[in-house]
């Protein structure tokens, strides 16, 4: 009787299975996106995976091709002035919005203005007044003026966008392709307000795809945009982005064929998938760096010898290959490793072997007055994420073994961890930074004391070196100056470099054209489904 009850249940389950065999559409690319989008407002969106959706739905002046290289987008060509301060973009002829409205240069001007306008409450304004210094941008962001005519982005005619900067900024092209530069369809915004961006019935976009369906906590469905200028070369008719918060569920959904591309790979499965499905595993360096910052307010850490010893005692290879095992690349630098053109410096001692570094570290610690009777005590503040805690414990263990340092790991929730940084209640901060693009520029700009006072780092030479770099209009000489600045930063051991984090995805063999991208963009328009 009991078994009958269970049997009945199973039978009804089987029945439902038989009835509900919905056809799995082959015309849809199914992509995992991790956490849910915070908003679909292009001038506000800040999270990376939502950026992928916007990259599919909108097109900037330039675009990122397969592999992440810069290619023409809405603008078919552009040129820089001799001094590198003015960029002029020429839009293609006959560009259209998804609703058929003509797309004009002013739509791009409006984007920059709306991003900066404090009333938009966007956190991205700094792209336009700090990452690149567009004329008049900071005054608008600070609420000093609301006059769009004061902005250094103008549209002299419907097919020309001119951007004037205060200092040369060859890296501006990265921003012109990213979703930060999605054009703004002002009539829609005025009619529907910002919520309209997330409403499939109302949203108007200009990219290879349009937003067709939005189900919170579940998915966003995109459909090919027939009004896109290059629609003839867009192969996949539908793209569906799934919220995949649980990485092991995402992994199983991939195995079951429900997903073609995953957002991540469970860390404990990396070795397995590398063995079993090596052709579907894509692990490549992202633009996220991990480094351990030292609190310069703490007397013991004001001694550069102590900071150097701590940085030397970390065995970065063992940490990544034996302890964390999440595919990150051990790093001895800060701003290098993403951009193949940038020849940046490494931290002092990077050319030594680990054994030599450890011997040197012991000497330095002893010279600073620490030893078995007088051990240095530190707290490491990190986030609660499992691999981050493991990393911190690994570092603490190495410091203990090599230097006898008693380091206590304090995991904190992310929001608390963020606040703790400025509160300063830490000796060592498990720090990280995600670059806005794959170049040294944003990393180094971020460490300027004026940009982030939380480090209490005073180094006029660094600011001076960055100021010199900012005057260089061409990438090569600019990179050379940036490298000088990075050397000042690394020499001072404000932090111990740890690793470049990995972007990890599983990509089904059905998907063709997936290439590791330094920029972190994988536009669906360049992919094919077989």
């Amino acid at each position: 009787m009991k078994m009958k009850g269970l049997g009945l249940l199973l039978a009804s389950a089987a029945l439902a299975v038989g009835l509900g065999t919905a056809a799995m559409a082959d015309d849809t690319l199914d992509r995992g996106m991790g956490s849910e989008w915070s908003t679909l407002d292009p001038q506000v969106v800040f999270d990376g995976a939502t950026g992928w959706i916007l990259m599919d739905a909108y097109e900037g002046l330039v675009n990122f091709g397969p592999g992440g290289g810069i290619i023409p987008g809405a603008a078919e060509s552009w040129e820089a002035s001799e001094d590198g301060k003015t960029y002029t973009f020429h839009l293609r002829e006959g560009l259209k919005w998804s609703n058929g409205d003509p797309l004009v240069a002013q739509d791009y001007v409006n984007t920059v203005f709306r991003t900066l306008d404090p009333a938009t409450i966007s956190e991205k304004g700094y792209y336009f007044y700090s990452t690149v210094k567009i004329k008049g941008a900071e005054a608008i962001a600070n609420g000093e003026t609301t006059d769009i005519a004061t902005l250094g982005v103008t549209a002299p005619d419907d097919r020309t966008v001119v951007i004037e900067m205060e200092t040369p900024g060859p890296h501006i092209l990265y921003l012109m392709g990213a979703f930060q530069m999605s054009p703004l369809h002002k009539p829609s915004l005025e009619a529907n307000g910002p919520a309209g961006f997330g409403d499939p019935a109302k949203v108007v976009s200009n990219g290879a795809y349009v937003i067709k369906e939005v189900v919170p906590q579940s998915h966003i469905l995109l459909e090919k945009n027939p009004n896109y200028w290059d629609a003839a070369n867009v192969s996949i008719p539908f793209v569906k982005y799934y919220v995949t918060e649980d990485v092991s569920t995402e992994f199983k959904r991939f195995q079951a064929g429900e997903l073609d591309v995953t957002y991540d790979i469970p860390v404990n499965q990396i070795e397995v998938v590398k063995e079993t499905i090596p052709d579907q595993v894509f692990i490549s360096p992202s633009t996220e760096v991990t480094f351990y910052s030292f609190n310069l307010q703490v007397p013991a850490l004001q001694d550069i010898n102590v900071r150097t010893a701590l940085a030397y005692a970390i065995n970065r290879e063992v940490l990544q290959e034996k302890i964390v095992k999440a595919g990150a690349v051990p790093s001895y630098a800060f701003a290098g490793g993403f951009d193949p053109d940038y020849q940046g410096p490494q931290m002092p001692g990077a050319d030594l072997t680990q054994a030599e570094r450890e011997a040197k570290a012991k000497e330095l610690m002893a010279a600073a007055g620490y030893g078995p009777d007088n051990p240095l005590k530190l707290t490491i503040v990190t986030t609660v994420a499992e691999d981050r805690v493991r990393l911190a414990q690994g570092v603490a263990l190495m410091w203990k073994q090599v230097l006898g340092v008693q380091a206590e790991v304090k995991p904190m929730e992310r929001k608390a961890w963020l606040d703790e940084f400025y509160a300063g209640g830490w000796d060592v901060f498990a720090d990280g930074l995600i670059g806005d693009f794959a170049g040294p520029e944003t990393f180094l700009a971020y460490m300027r004391p004026s940009t982030d006072p939380g480090y209490h780092w005073v180094k006029p030479e660094y600011d001076a070196a960055m100021d010199v770099a900012a005057t260089k209009p061409d990438k090569e000489s600019r990179d050379a100056e940036l490298a000088k600045a990075e050397k000042i930063l690394l020499d001072d051991f404000l932090f111990a470099p740890i690793a470049i984090e990995a972007a990890r995805s599983l990509v089904s063999t059905k998907v063709k054209g997936w290439e590791p991208s330094g920029a972190g963009y994988y536009n669906s328009q360049f992919l094919k489904l077989e």
């Binding site: 299975v17 956190e123 600070n142 609420g143 429900e258």
Partner: protein, 307 residues
């Protein structure tokens, strides 16, 4: 009876008010805020963010604003999901959670009670032992273990159902419903069995038997009503917690319900969403408890008269 219900509702409202007040202030004690970030932003934007979500006001004023909003059924904007209000998020997630919860509780109640009755009638038989073992397993193995195991068997190996998501109608949610029902089946069957055995020994049942009333009739008319009292007491709060969505189930099966917001909102310091979900959960829990009390009072006159 009406007075009884009225009193319960009044007490429930007070409890809910206390819960919500406590949550509001305790939440603010946690370090970090909804807009903690690792980049400096322009002070103008910072001020606008705070003004938009009234974070610049004194906390008692924010609380007053929240209470006023609740009275107008407006829970305010979410700080994390900028395109939605808290009302939108609950309205979008609750139907999914309700559907899964409804089926799970129905399956749990029917199967659990049936197993319990049979267990009580054929005590210590083989089937009773099997059901008992299954019951212990159902209670002991947590959802985050049994869920993935069932996913591997039924979705990956057999391919009968999808691993996750809600893209193929009810077929998508057979596993979550089962997993959600399982511990409840176990609990309800144990509860029914024990209570049934006790009731079968009661004098009134023996009296009925002595009067020559047939076995089936004694069972249905006399024993069952008494035996199900503890089950009903359990079902009330269980239903409330099940239909408001399970964080674990929704995470493991990637379902768009409202349960996932509960933890996420707290982690993201999405104050309005935390308050909205607390109000929803608290309200439903209290309501179902009252419903249970009423049902029990109806089933057992002794309880009613005691009030």
């Amino acid at each position: 009876m009406l007075r009884f219900v009225g009193k319960r509702l009044w007490n429930g409202t007070l409890t809910l008010a206390a819960l919500v007040t406590l949550t509001f202030f305790v939440m603010r004690l946690a370090p970090g805020g909804p807009f903690s970030r690792n980049r400096k932003i322009s002070p103008e934007v910072q001020a606008n963010i705070e003004a938009a979500f009234h974070l610049d006001e004194p906390i008692w004023m924010q609380f007053g604003r929240f209470v006023w909003g609740v009275l107008r059924f407006d829970l305010g904007p979410s700080t994390r999901f900028r395109d939605y209000s808290v009302n939108d998020l609950i309205a979008s997630g609750l139907p999914y959670s309700l559907t899964i919860g409804f089926w799970a509780i129905l399956v749990a109640a029917l199967v659990g009670i049936a197993l319990g009755i049979v267990g009580a009638l054929r005590r210590n038989g083989l089937t009773d032992y099997v059901a008992g073992t299954v019951g212990v397993i159902g209670i002991a193995i947590p959802i985050f273990v049994i869920g993935p195991v069932l996913q591997v068997i039924f979705a990956l190996k057999l391919g009968w159902v999808p691993v996750g998501g809600w893209n193929e109608g009810m077929r998508s949610v057979i596993l979550p419903i089962l997993v959600l029902a399982l511990p409840n089946i176990a609990y309800i069957s144990r509860l029914t069995r024990t209570s049934m055995i006790e009731t079968l020994r009661e004098n009134y049942v023996r009296t009925a038997r002595a009067k020559g009333i047939g076995g089936r009739r004694v069972l249905l008319r006399h024993t069952l009503k008494g035996a199900l009292l503890p089950v009903v007491a359990y079902l009330g709060p269980a239903t409330a917690s099940i239909i408001t969505g399970s964080v674990l189930i929704e995470t493991v099966f990637a379902l768009p319900g409202v349960g996932r917001h509960f933890v996420d909102a707290a982690l993201n310091r999405d104050y309005p969403l935390v308050m909205g979900i607390t109000l929803l959960y608290g309200g439903l829990l209290i309501l179902f408890n009252i419903g249970t009390d009423v049902l029990r009072a109806w089933m057992d006159p002794r309880l009613r008269n005691a009030q």
